[in-house]
């Protein structure tokens, strides 16, 4: 395996982790938006605060990790994507800024009126970002980012693959968030809230599953290169995703919330990895292969040092953070609070 492919896999690992953990944080916005009025929704919004508050900034850094590996390891394709997908990337960025800022502002709002305003911005922008990042991914995957950059500013992301990519991103984020929040609610003994979340998450899961599999039809015509491999080498992953998705729904139905989280992660991870396998060996589908996109070998080797440090330093620290937030001591303190 070439150095370029190894670096590309390391970058894709970042995409996967961002889609799962960053995605779950963004998905919380959907449940915040649909939580109801300030009195009825207060309990759920506090749960969301506790659930994503300690982790969202750390999960967000996966995006930075992806971007720096992309522009350092595969600089020309990065410039090609940013000059073609300026609009969806800028809109995703607006969502990122508004989401992060208003989430922090809401927590320390003085009045309910302020909290409502910041909360609405937080929830709305949480949906914008996954949609446009998904649309941008669809543009790359459907071969609409030309190697030399400055491609079609609108057509590159206003097409069936991109639109389904955006919808799938929003749906999978909400599905993950639902699975995590239901488990959090149950663990902190908010049983009534867990019931509400359980029903909504099952609904979101069914809708997202339908979108994911319905997307295979338009993608067939719209992105033949991607589709051939989706239905070829990536087919087992599609099957796994379907099975894991169904398992999640069954577990939620049976109220095994703790295991439902893992099944939901498996379902979404299979979809994302399926896209990665389908896109291989292209960096920009139909335009530039990974090997041809790679920058200087010395730099790729340097990036491997960064990846190794990430494995040694970041992953254990992140594991510690996740372990703490899931520990009884933290949950009990929340409950007491």
């Amino acid at each position: 395996m070439s150095l370029a492919v190894i670096v590309a896999i390391a970058m894709f690992a970042g995409i996967l982790l961002y889609a799962l953990f960053g995605g779950a944080d963004f998905g919380s916005g959907f449940f915040d938006l649909t939580a109801g009025g300030s009195e009825r929704g207060g309990e759920l919004r506090v749960l969301i605060d506790h659930s994503i508050g300690p982790v969202w900034e750390a999960n967000h850094v996966w995006l930075i990790y992806i971007l720096v590996i992309w522009w350092t390891g595969f600089p020309e394709t990065f410039a090609a994507a940013t000059t073609t997908l300026t609009l969806p990337l800028a809109l995703a960025l607006v969502g990122i800024v508004l989401r992060g800022a208003s989430f922090a502002f809401r927590k320390y709002s003085a009045t309910l009126a302020q909290a409502r305003l910041f909360g609405a911005v937080f929830a709305g922008s949480s949906l914008i970002t996954p949609f446009f990042l998904g649309a941008a991914a669809g543009a790359v995957a459907s071969g609409r980012v030309p190697a030399q950059g400055n491609g079609d500013q609108l057509g590159s992301w206003l097409n069936p693959t991109s639109l389904f990519g955006g919808l799938i991103a929003v749906g999978t984020c909400a599905f993950l968030a639902g699975a995590f929040l239901t488990a959090d609610a149950s663990r902190s003994r908010h049983d009534a809230l867990a019931e509400v979340l359980r029903i909504r998450t099952i609904g979101v899961g069914i809708a997202t599953g339908i979108v994911v599999f319905a997307a295979l039809i338009p993608i067939r015509n719209d992105s033949p290169t991607l589709s051939d491999r989706l239905l070829g080498p990536a087919a087992p992953l599609i099957v796994i995703s379907a099975a894991a998705g169904l398992a999640t729904l069954v577990m939620l139905h049976r109220r095994s919330y703790s295991s439902a989280r893992f099944a939901a992660v498996a379902a979404v991870a299979s979809v994302v990895i399926g896209w990665g396998v389908a896109q291989y060996p292209w960096m920009l589908v139909d335009e530039v292969r990974i090997a041809d996109a790679a920058g200087a070998p010395a730099t790729l080797a340097g990036l491997l040092v960064v990846v190794a440090l990430a494995v040694v330093l970041v992953v254990p620290a992140l594991g510690y953070l996740f372990w703490l937030t899931q520990s009884d001591r933290w949950t009990d303190a929340e409950h007491a609070a």
Binding site: P54, A58, W71, T72, T82, T83, V97, S109, A317
Partner: protein
């Protein structure tokens, strides 16, 4: 013709790409905004550590109270710092595709290391913010150490990229192609250590003066108590050390500029012609090749810029017009930075000398007023420093290798992007101001925990407030 077309025609130079001017404006706005928060990310954890540790070790409730409040403040500041830093990541590609596409694999590695630093800071921030009363006290305190360390490393790596833009190395250009890339050599370029030291110390000046200024403002309004004295003193000590060290670092860095970037030095010093010895030219503007309104102090220019009473400062006349930076902005920004930095260094010396002689200046209203103003002044000095070095590097984005006009986006649509950025940053500034002020107000009113208004406990109160 549409709006963007008209604006581009009016504002851009004839041969420049339509994206150049909006790209530069947006970069200046977003970097200038983010850098203030980055300073807090770098310096604030260390200051919180000092008061938090004092609170635990000396069982000092005042210090512990400060640490709790500063932690909440940092939750807000670090959140908007994280997202505004992300903006810069996207902008590298959206605004400067000609730089990133061609040199991404030369300059990118420090960014990747900076990403790791950011990771560590974000992870331990999450643990620290939510760890109050949920972890053993000492362990909880220790969570600040990786945050503070990540701030140091992060500064080094980010500044490393900027230093490379001033001192490009680690590659060759053969027939227009970038080749022989050595990213480590690029990262550890000749300018990196001094530039890093300059920015790192600047971060402590900014945060030290801003935070101590907040407590000075409280004392001006009659809130003179142990809380305000400690809240003033800890950041002020950091600011003192930083303000005294900074002129030395700046001087050495300035000497380097004379050797490596003579055009920038000429603009700093408003040296239109080579003079030997060169005067120190205070203030003044260059109009049609003539200097107006400057005060010249003989020989001091050579002393400051070249460390000698008679070495010349090469003038702008030795540099082709096409390679000259915008002189007036560079000169005035540079001198604002130096002037404010000198003023702040004198001010801290006055404070500690008076204290040594037994006078407590914290009881003097004139000093407190000065301490309040020192915060914004430190920010202005840092911004002016960035303007001086960035504008002084023009017309190059990579010194004598790549012109800014060749790096900028071709898209005139960037005017819309700039307009959106202005709206978002104004909104974020207003939001942060409203929230931070309301936090301070509630603390003064005796609340400590600041519960969320939609939370179950606080609901009745807030419903009453909402009516």
């Amino acid at each position: 013709m549409d709006f963007t077309g008209v604006v581009s025609q009016l504002m851009a130079a004839s041969d420049a790409p339509p994206g150049l001017l909006p790209a530069r404006e947006q970069m200046a706005l977003s970097l200038g905004w983010h850098i203030i928060l980055a300073c807090f990310g770098v310096a604030f954890p260390t200051m919180i550590y000092v008061v938090h540790r004092r609170g635990i070790v000396r069982d000092d409730p005042v210090a512990l109270g400060l640490a709790k409040r500063w932690a909440k403040i940092s939750a807000v500041l670090f959140a908007i710092g994280a997202v505004s830093g992300t903006v810069l990541s996207f902008e590298m590609g959206i605004l400067w595709p000609g730089l990133m596409g061609r040199f991404g694999d030369v300059l990118g590695l420090p960014f990747a290391f900076e990403g790791l630093s950011f990771f560590i800071e974000a992870i331990f921030l999450g643990i620290y913010l939510y760890g109050w009363d949920r972890m053993p006290a000492r362990l909880h305190l220790a969570m600040l150490i990786p945050m503070a360390a990540a701030g140091v490393f992060g500064t080094f790596f980010v500044v490393s990229v900027n230093a490379w833009m001033n001192n490009p190395t680690g590659f060759r250009i053969v027939d227009g192609e970038v080749t022989d890339v050595n990213p480590w050599q690029a990262m550890f370029n000749d300018g990196v250590w001094l530039q890093f030291a300059h920015m790192w110390v600047a971060a402590f000046m900014v945060v030290g003066f801003v935070v101590s200024g907040v407590y000075a403002a409280g004392m001006l309004r009659g809130r003179v108590d142990a809380h305000h004295r400690l809240g003033f003193t800890v950041p002020f000590v950091f600011a003192t050390v930083a303000a005294l060290v900074q002129p030395l670092i700046g001087h050495v860095l300035g000497l380097r500029v004379g050797n490596t970037q003579p055009a920038k030095l000429a603009a700093f010093e408003l040296a239109t012609t080579t003079e030997q010895p060169a005067p120190l030219r205070l203030g003044g503007v260059l109009i049609d090749g003539k200097v107006y309104g400057a005060i010249d102090i003989p020989m001091i220019g050579s002393l400051i810029a070249r460390n000698s009473f008679d070495k010349p400062v090469p003038g702008l006349d030795t540099i082709p017009v096409a390679d000259q930076p915008p002189v007036n902005i560079t000169h005035l920004a540079f001198q604002s930075m130096v002037g404010i930095g000198t003023l702040l260094a004198v001010a801290v010396v006055v404070f500690w000398l008076a204290r040594w002689r037994g006078h407590d200046l914290l009881s003097k209203r004139w000093f407190l007023r000065g301490a309040v103003i020192a915060g914004p002044l430190a920010i202005i000095a840092m911004e002016a420093g960035w303007i001086a070095t960035e504008v002084g590097r023009q017309p190059w984005i990579v010194w004598q290798v790549l012109r800014t006009s060749d790096a900028a986006s071709q898209s005139a649509g960037l005017w819309w992007s700039l307009a959106a950025a202005v709206v978002v940053y104004v909104g974020m500034t207003i939001g942060a101001t409203v929230v931070l002020r309301s936090m301070a107000r509630r603390w003064r009113a005796g609340e400590e925990d600041l519960p969320t208004p939609y939370g179950p406990r606080s609901a009745p109160v807030d419903e009453a407030a909402g009516r």
